[in-house]
Symmetry: C2
Subunit: 172 residues, 2 copies
């Protein structure tokens, strides 16, 4: 008896108690009801909405997110950045190399541990933070969500994300 099966069972039982409208169980079958679909399409929408803003800065969306972390704290290790972005270093390294080619960051081996690579902002990279400043407000405006809705959304997203990150061996 595997974990997923048990889980489905519990859910179906739960549905009977709560008397919701879904036919077979509480497990949604329509894409519109699946959180994965919601996040997937929302991330496409966000990416697209950012593009016209970022084009002016000559940045891609992942590059912008990465810089956001560096504007918060300069000189982070590749590993730190990768962890915060939930991204593999094999993805991050080429991205950082492009940012370096653009002149926005410098990658330097750590002095204590030469295996590490520390990512430092250049003057150009620091200057970008000022240019990028108005974008956030503009995007927030575009969402048509209130401040409290955005707050709740963020809380739920981070909870979902961190829940999924917890170790769970799929067994069905």
């Amino acid at each position: 008896m595997n974990r997923c099966f048990v889980s489905t069972f519990y859910i179906a039982h739960d549905r009977k108690r709560r008397g919701t409208r879904q036919s077979m169980s509480d497990v949604p079958t329509l894409a519109e009801d699946l959180f994965c679909y919601g996040v997937y399409t929302a991330s496409h929408a966000i990416n697209r909405a950012y593009i016209p803003h970022l084009k002016k800065l000559g940045l891609t969306y992942p590059q912008y997110i990465t810089l956001t972390l560096l504007w918060e704290r300069d000189g982070q290790k590749v590993n730190e950045l990768a962890k915060r972005l939930l991204m593999e270093t094999s993805t991050l390294t080429p991205l950082l190399k492009r940012l370096e080619a653009l002149g926005h960051v410098m990658r330097r081996p750590g002095e204590l541990d030469a295996r590490e690579v520390l990512v430092h902002l250049t003057e150009s990279g620091k200057a970008l933070s000022m240019q990028a400043e108005p974008i956030t407000a503009c995007m927030i405006e575009g969402t048509s969500l209130s401040r409290s809705e955005l707050q709740r959304l963020q809380t739920l997203l981070l909870k979902l994300r961190d829940g999924l990150r917890a170790p769970q061996t799929p067994q069905h």
Copy 2:
């Protein structure tokens, strides 16, 4: 006076009325507070959590999402699928070709309009829906969110997504 500037103004004013705690204005500067960061990292987490399940079916995550839409209604046009996925046809076409190469779908030109390409599930593609069935419940379990939280999350996500899709010319 551009739109984004006005918007920032409004937000700062609003903050004063509501007396929230953020220092300069209600516009967050920390990544953890940015919804784009939340969605970006959550989508990475979701993708990763799906991978071990989908590996057994020989599918990637975007392929799975696409099939989900076809399981709902077979024979959709490429354009319909692209719109629902918020994806360009230039992304979808190669994905569909891979699904065709795997034997899960067939692409046929429309009979009334030969420009259109209709995507039909094969028997193999239909059969996958049964194999994929337990995955949803397992993922929901993994989120550590309650049903009502997931419901609220989905509502907020779709509202955000559709808000961003509404036409808005960036002007800052």
